[in-house]
């Protein structure tokens, strides 16, 4: 394969129009799913880039399963990223993280508490069964039951039940 000439000042369109369309249509959604897990936009965007690279390498842009694949991959990749974090780095990241997971607070003590809560949330997601954690990430990123069913390959009629179980497990774990 011959790549277009490289020009540091300009990015040449190297992907097909179909892939570009898919990327533009789904990028925000993929970031949103990863963000629900990671609570860090920069990290979520890195995950999204990796997810699209994986898809680009292995799948045609017009594949009928493209959206479902991207959604599921975003959740799983983000959960893998959380599990891969070192406990210490998680804590450091939490303290440096903008408090976008809770209401804005001015009190430094509350900010620290909020950050710790976010980290506990990530730890809970990391401990939960993969499908349950992914289901929460997808649902709270705004996916419909039908979209969740397609992404996680469960019956649409089962999503409500599975989601309730995931939420119950999440509450129990978070205390």
């Amino acid at each position: 394969m011959t790549l277009p000439a490289r020009d540091p000042g300009r990015v040449v369109a190297v992907v097909s129009p179909a892939f570009e369309g898919l990327f533009r249509a789904e990028y925000a959604r993929v970031v949103g799913i990863a963000h629900r897990v990671l609570a860090d936009q920069a990290e979520a965007e890195d995950v999204a880039q990796d997810v699209f690279i994986s898809f680009y390498r292995g799948h045609p842009a017009d594949a009928p399963y493209a959206r479902a694949w991207l959604h599921a991959a975003a959740a799983h990749a983000a959960l893998n990223a959380v599990r891969g974090r070192d406990r210490r780095s998680r804590r450091e990241a939490a303290l440096a993280m903008p408090p976008d997971a809770t209401a804005a607070v001015d009190d430094p003590a509350e900010t620290v508490a909020a950050s710790e809560t976010r980290e506990e949330v990530r730890a809970v997601l990391a401990r939960m069964p993969e499908r349950s954690a992914a289901m929460l990430a997808l649902r709270y990123a705004g996916l419909s039951y039908a979209e969740i069913a397609a992404a996680l390959d469960v019956r649409a009629s089962s999503v409500g039940t599975l989601l309730r179980r995931a939420e119950d497990a999440f509450r129990r774990e978070l205390r």
């Binding site: 970031v31 609570a39 292995g58 993969e130």
Partner: protein
């Protein structure tokens, strides 16, 4: 904690993204790292590789399907014996996943990703001189087609494969290690599956192969690379289990990362997994549909060009397959002429 609390815990602020910038980053990375997109699947020309691959797939399915579908038993009981066949579409996604999982590995090593696979009696194919010899060694009457298309000429060659047995022992450690090597997280192996065993038998089998296309005899007499017709017949494979159930194994299989929604749906749709042999069919390369052959329901598999065909069916405890460069009607005529 109510739903609102969960929503708050999981973050309520939507990230603001700039898709243009993100796409530019993506394209720059593709360029910088020289990342190539998946090659679009062209309508494939039928090649010897395709035919050999299909024949190999039909053989491997005996073991592969046995490992993916097992059954119910309190002790060692026969829990899988196919009474029918069904196509299971493998998407490019599944093939990529399997390719990653088994890159550079043979079947035995690949199955090692989930536990220990051991041949207790490995398959040892050998050639014999006649159909009667093949029948005598296999222990059953090898059927042969009585009607052949004009493109199939000459005498067939005969191969016999002995009755083969293998044991597979599930291992949670192996599963986790294999997933870690792929930078993935495998779902936990249920405790009652960890350490349990499957006992697999396949064959004996007889294979009859017709050689080069008409008009192109091999001058050297060497065995042609591209058989025009392959007819296979084997005792139906069986699987016994020392405790794992069909539902447990199916649920575990479906929870694996990388299983496409299409494949999962197809596996889930199998009504009775203890008696249905799933035949993997590359979804982008081939078509398949049920057919009636020899009075039973079988499976037709053809490549997208309509040039190569395979018919697979099960009858009276035997598995049959007819593979070659035929149209569907020709392949069915051959299959129905087997006596």
């Amino acid at each position: 904690m109510n739903d609102t609390d969960i929503e708050r815990a999981l973050g309520t602020t939507e990230p603001h993204v700039n898709a243009d910038d993100a796409l530019a980053r993506f394209q720059a990375r593709v360029q910088t790292e020289g990342i190539a997109p998946v090659v679009p699947v062209a309508r494939p020309r039928v090649t010897s590789r395709w035919l050999r691959g299909l024949a190999a797939a039909a053989g491997v399915v005996i073991v592969a399907s046995a490992l993916t579908l097992s059954g119910v038993a309190e002790s060692v009981l026969k829990i899988f014996e196919p009474k029918s066949v069904v196509a299971v579409p493998l998407t490019q996604s599944d093939l990529n996943y399997l390719g990653q999982a088994c890159a550079g590995l043979n079947l035995q090593e690949c199955m090692g990703a989930y536990g220990t696979f051991e041949w207790t009696a490995p398959p040892q194919p050998k050639e014999v001189n006649s159909r009667s010899q093949a029948s005598a060694q296999a222990g059953f009457t090898a059927l042969a087609p009585t009607t052949l298309p004009s493109s199939v000429t000459g005498d067939p060659r005969y191969g016999v494969i002995n009755r083969s047995t293998a044991t597979f022992t599930f291992s949670a450690d192996s599963t986790q290690q294999a997933a870690a090597r792929q930078n993935r997280t495998a779902p936990p192996l249920p405790a009652n599956i960890d350490g349990s065993k499957l006992f697999i038998t396949g064959g004996p089998a007889v294979v009859q192969i017709w050689g080069a296309p008409a008009g192109t005899p091999s001058a050297s007499g060497a065995y042609p690379d591209v058989p025009t017709l392959v007819v296979g017949q084997a005792k139906a494979p069986t699987v016994s289990s020392d405790g794992v159930t069909v539902d447990q194994l199916r649920a575990y299989l479906l929870s694996q990362p990388g299983i496409s929604p299409q494949l999962a749906a197809a596996i889930r749709a199998i009504g009775d997994p203890s008696s249905t042999l799933p035949v993997p069919v590359p979804a982008e390369l081939a078509i398949s549909h049920p057919v009636t052959v020899q009075g039973v329901q079988g499976l037709y598999v053809g490549d997208n060009t309509g040039i190569a065909s395979a018919v697979i069916w099960q009858k009276d405890g035997m598995m049959f397959e007819v593979i070659g460069s035929f149209t569907e009607s020709q392949a069915l005529a051959i299959a129905n002429s087997m006596r």
